[in-house]
């Protein structure tokens, strides 16, 4: 011990004259740091209620709850996360993982209340003083727990693509598929948006885990056309995908294709359910498109004897005759159809109902009939001169291409219309070496075709002429008469004529244009062929559409004797795509089963 040890402790006194370190709350405020993990804030408009925050929360502090004034809709569960601060540990993994980025934290940390129940609230819905706080925890730039980028899909280059009808999209490898499947958060928003309500998170999980038999079984639970839908589905699911709110949506369609591509047809039977024993009843299906064959598949599984009548030489309907092979190669479609036939479904090809057999014949011979005849009639241009021999219809051109016929479209081709048929016709013409103009009455953003199709058609060299109202088709002069035609159109401008309705194209006076084409392909719309339905069949119809009830039933039959009639697909629904037809077919099969077995009828 020395003298310093007795004196040094008195040095503490010097602190008495220094400024204290403490803050004089409440005179001085001490806000949380800019990154402070304080009370949650949520942009309820951007949030889609996917529940990924709930899934990652290890404390189960987050519950997705219904919110007043918010309904479930496409791509939005209508639920919002409610945080329980009795459980929350402020780790902010919910913020890090939030697909849309709507969930964040404020830098507010003081909240005093005598009522313990208030500390459980729905951020962004229950108003709080820190709503919209500028400061607080945000995930750092470049830091996300999820991958916002889709695994790129190998595709033929556009220059290469137009040289042949080879399939454009090459498909995922196993590693690519598993990586893409890993992006899914299993929120299930896609299930609600899919017309067939496929178990999308389920089969994506199967891809992730490499269990393709399970994947295939899940696909076939709701859709017996995975090869076709894995390529050409309108993929509403991807529009609803929660990952798409903050990046590329999961490539659901390509993953479906991956599963179907990876399993050989000969191995399908091992993975898929067997048909029930025969129930001794017969069902006829009119039309071997995706809807009709789906109905046939599910009916066969339920033990019905099913015969499908198809007027064309091959089964597949619009999948075969409407969609070019560079989008859906025939072997892929044949695989889907082949499996359905392997269950004992008979397809009578080249038999037209209304010509070779009548609907009343079917009603007499079968316990039930399912009508799934689609929209085979192409509507015309309805302008003067539209009966010119060089005015062709898009559906017929695509069907001729499928049958391998010589199209003879010539060098200069106009395609009139903005739907998928128009895009397919244009790209088919491009592959036959033609220069193609696509003329559409409205603007590009109004076109009903898939955005991908429009983009690819343009990339492959088609010229898009928007806002062009067809006026007339004139025969070419001189030696070309009858071999080429002048297409006359009027340039238009979009006019907002009525509030709340889409703008209308209005011809600009005097702005007439004309161009000489070897072929003019009209693809403005299609209608049904219902000439085979007679009054005696008892099918109520309105505006060229059979009216069906919630079960898909059009006529209960038995007047005086005959099977019930069900209908579905493009013929009936408004979506007019393959997946909706498949959903209708599935529904009809279940309804027919209930109707014929007397269960819950």
């Amino acid at each position: 011990m020395d003298i310093k040890d007795f004196i040094a402790p008195f040095a503490v006194w010097k602190r008495a004259f220094e400024k204290p370190f403490t803050v004089k709350k409440p005179i001085d405020e001490r806000p949380g740091a800019p990154r402070y993990r304080g009370f949650h804030i949520n942009d309820a408009e951007r949030c889609v209620g996917c529940g990924t925050c709930e899934a990652i929360c290890m404390n189960k502090a987050i519950d997705l709850v219904p919110v007043e004034g918010r309904e479930a809709k496409e791509g939005d569960s209508g639920l919002r996360p409610r945080v329980d601060y009795g459980r929350c540990c402020w780790c902010a993994l919910c913020v890090d993982i939030c697909p849309s980025g709507s969930l964040n934290m404020s830098n507010e940390y003081l909240w005093i209340d005598s009522d313990p129940d208030v500390f459980r609230y729905t951020p962004g819905v229950d108003k709080k003083p820190w709503d919209g706080a500028e400061l607080g925890y945000r995930r750092a730039e470049g830091y996300r727990l999820l991958d916002e980028q889709r695994v790129p899909m190998a595709e033929l280059g556009h220059r290469e693509a137009v040289k042949s009808f080879l399939e454009l999209v090459q498909g995922y490898s196993r590693a690519q598929a598993e990586k893409e499947a890993d992006r899914c958060v299993s929120c299930g928003l896609c299930i609600a948006s899919c017309p067939a309500h496929m178990d999308i998170p389920g089969y994506i999980k199967a891809v992730r885990e490499g269990d393709l038999d399970t994947g295939l079984r899940l696909l076939y639970e709701t859709n017996p056309f995975p090869e076709a839908c894995g390529r050409i589905c309108t993929h509403l699911c991807e529009g609803a995908c929660s990952i798409g709110t903050g990046g590329d949506p999961v490539a659901i369609r390509w993953l479906k294709r991956y599963i179907a591509d990876q399993v050989e047809l000969s191995a399908y039977a091992k993975a898929l359910p067997r048909a029930e024993p025969s129930v001794g009843k017969k069902v006829a299906v009119v039309g071997a498109g995706p809807g009709g064959l789906s109905a046939a598949y599910y009916l066969a599984l339920l033990g019905y004897e099913v015969k499908v009548y198809e007027k064309d030489g091959e089964a597949g309907g619009m999948l075969r005759y409407g969609i070019p092979e560079y989008r859906l190669p025939y072997p892929a479609l044949d695989k889907d159809i082949g499996y359905i036939e392997s269950l004992g479904v008979t397809i009578k090809r080249g038999v037209a109902i209304g010509k070779d057999l009548s609907l009343s014949d079917l009603r007499r011979d079968y316990h039930a009939v399912y009508l799934s005849t689609g929209l085979p009639v192409a509507y015309g241009l309805e302008v003067p001169g539209d009966k010119h021999p060089r005015v062709l219809d898009g559906v017929a051109v695509l069907a001729a291409a499928t049958r391998g016929e010589e199209l003879g479209l010539g060098k200069r081709v106009a395609v009139i219309g903005g739907g998928n048929v128009a895009m397919d016709a244009a790209r088919t013409a491009l592959r036959h070496g033609a220069a193609v103009d696509i003329l559409y009455r409205r603007r590009e953003e109004d076109m009903p075709a898939d955005a991908d199709e429009i983009r690819e058609a343009k990339a492959e060299g088609a010229r898009l002429i928007e806002k062009s109202i067809p006026v007339e088709v004139k025969d070419a002069a001189g030696a070309l008469a009858g071999k080429a035609a002048l297409f006359v159109w009027n340039e238009a401008e979009m006019v907002q004529k009525e509030e709340g309705k889409r703008p209308v194209p209005e011809a600009i006076p005097g702005a007439l244009r004309e161009e000489l084409y070897d072929s003019i392909i009209a693809a403005i719309g299609q209608g049904p062929d219902l000439s085979y339905v007679t009054e005696e069949d008892g099918v109520p119809m309105k505006r060229f559409k059979p009216l069906v009830d919630a079960r898909g039933m059009a006529s209960p039959g038995a007047s005086p004797k005959g099977g019930a009639i069900f209908a579905g697909g493009d013929l009936v629904n408004d979506r007019k795509d393959a997946i909706s037809a498949i959903a209708d077919g599935h529904r009809a099969a279940l309804s027919i089963d209930r109707h014929l077995s007397g269960k819950g009828a």
């Binding site: 011990m1 310093k4 040890d5 007795f6 040094a8 402790p9 040095a11 503490v12 602190r15 370190f21 403490t22 949380g32 740091a33 800019p34 990154r35 402070y36 993990r37 990924t52 899934a55 990652i56 290890m58 540990c89 402020w90 780790c91 902010a92 993994l93 890090d96 993982i97 934290m105 925890y137 995930r139 750092a140 470049g142 830091y143 727990l145 999820l146 991958d147 890993d182 992006r183 899914c184 958060v185 299993s186 992730r208």
Partner: protein, 387 residues
């Protein structure tokens, strides 16, 4: 008072006194007692004012972390592990993340290496600052804790700025760290280091040149060097006994091989020597933090992209990752069976050794008034005993 007389080696055997004789008193210190570092208790048998026998009781703080982790996804355990040692969460975060990275074969970016090192040194300093207040307080010197906890709060301010949390930083995430340093952060770090250093000088003066502290701490809880391997003593408790054992040097993890520092060792591990060594390590922390600020890369990624945390599976395997925390070797044993959750996690905290076996032996013969000071001088945290 003769220091040499006090530096006795307590007997290895338990006393086993006859409690019915009326000579002894059985008393409990803790679990609610200011002289206990956290929720554990000491069952003391005293004769007069000296302790004849001591039995430690733990279990008041058992939260079942290791078992909980077997039921949570790999990433969900990340907010959980920091809670195993409250004053030093970052060592848990680091060991857990590094174990996962090793099992999954993930290389983290260099920037993350530096920021992790910074985070670990900052929490080392904060933890020592809290401890030194406790050590002074245990000997009745209440002023120091007011100073040192203020300094700790300044370090926690830095954590708040860096990670958004003061106590549980949850900054070291598997794959790297959770964000780059905010603008102006390094400047704040250097300013606070200056402030803390100035305060350490004051503490050195009034605490280590204090006759009361010297008289009570010198010779108290003497740990001979040959106990180090016998009991598995690590950290300052071992270094004070002259055993140069520091995982930062011995394992050379993170950025430590690129930092200039020497392992500090003492000669005779008693309460005073250990306190002095920890004070020197605080100065060393400040020096290391300044070096890190100087050398940390300014650009580059701070986290390696990992698979979707909802399904992340780690290949089957096991590993043990250790780091030098303020109190010694802190380690995580992690075993994976290839699924999306750990098969087994075992946490090795230095307090298990120091607060149970070593404490029980050192307490024998100690004056009852010095039990609290002795316990604090071992620097133990009960939460890490009970995982």
């Amino acid at each position: 008072m003769k220091k040499e007389k006090l530096r006795v080696i307590p007997p290895a055997e338990r006393a086993n006194p006859d409690l019915e004789s009326g000579k002894y008193l059985l008393m409990w210190q803790g679990p609610q007692h200011p002289g206990i570092t956290g929720n554990m208790s000491l069952k003391l048998i005293v004769e007069g004012d000296s302790v004849v026998d001591c039995e430690t009781h733990v279990g008041y703080l058992h939260r079942g972390f290791e078992k909980l982790m077997e039921r949570r996804l790999w990433m969900q355990n990340f907010p959980l592990v920091c809670r195993i040692a409250v004053p030093e969460p970052d060592f848990n975060e680091y060991c857990y993340a590094a174990a996962l990275e090793e099992l999954a074969g993930i290389q983290i970016p260099d920037k993350a290496v530096w920021l992790r090192t910074l985070s670990l040194e900052m929490i080392r300093l904060a933890s020592f600052l809290m401890w030194i207040g406790g050590q002074a307080g245990a000997f009745g010197h209440g002023t120091i804790i007011q100073w040192s906890v203020t300094m700790r709060d300044y370090v926690l301010d830095l954590f708040e700025e860096l990670s958004g949390g003061r106590i549980y930083h949850m900054y070291i995430i598997p794959g790297g760290v959770r964000g780059d340093v905010p603008a102006g952060f390094f400047k704040h770090v250097l300013e606070i280091m200056d402030t803390v250093q100035k305060n350490l000088d004051d503490i050195e003066l009034v605490m280590f040149h204090n006759v009361v502290f010297k008289m009570r701490a010198e010779g108290l809880g003497y740990i001979p060097a040959d106990w180090v391997d016998h009991y598995g003593i690590t950290g300052p408790n071992a270094r004070a006994a002259g055993v140069a054992r520091d995982l930062r040097k011995d394992l050379g993890y993170l950025a430590y091989p690129r930092l200039d520092f020497k392992t500090i060792v003492g000669q005779k591990s008693d309460a005073y020597e250990r306190a002095r060594l920890r004070l020197l390590e605080m100065y060393q922390c400040i020096d290391l933090i300044r070096q890190i600020v100087d050398q940390c890369p300014k650009d580059g990624p701070f986290r390696e992209k990992l698979p979707n945390p909802l399904y992340w599976k780690i290949p089957a395997g096991e590993t043990y990752v250790a780091a030098e925390c303020t109190r010694g070797e802190y380690g995580f044993y992690v075993a994976s069976d290839g699924s999306d959750k750990p098969r087994r996690v075992a946490v090795r905290g230095p307090s298990y050794t120091h607060a149970v076996a070593v404490m029980e032996r050192l307490a024998r013969g100690v004056n009852i008034a010095d039990v609290a000071g002795l316990m604090v001088s071992l620097h133990t945290y009960p939460p890490e005993i009970e995982r």
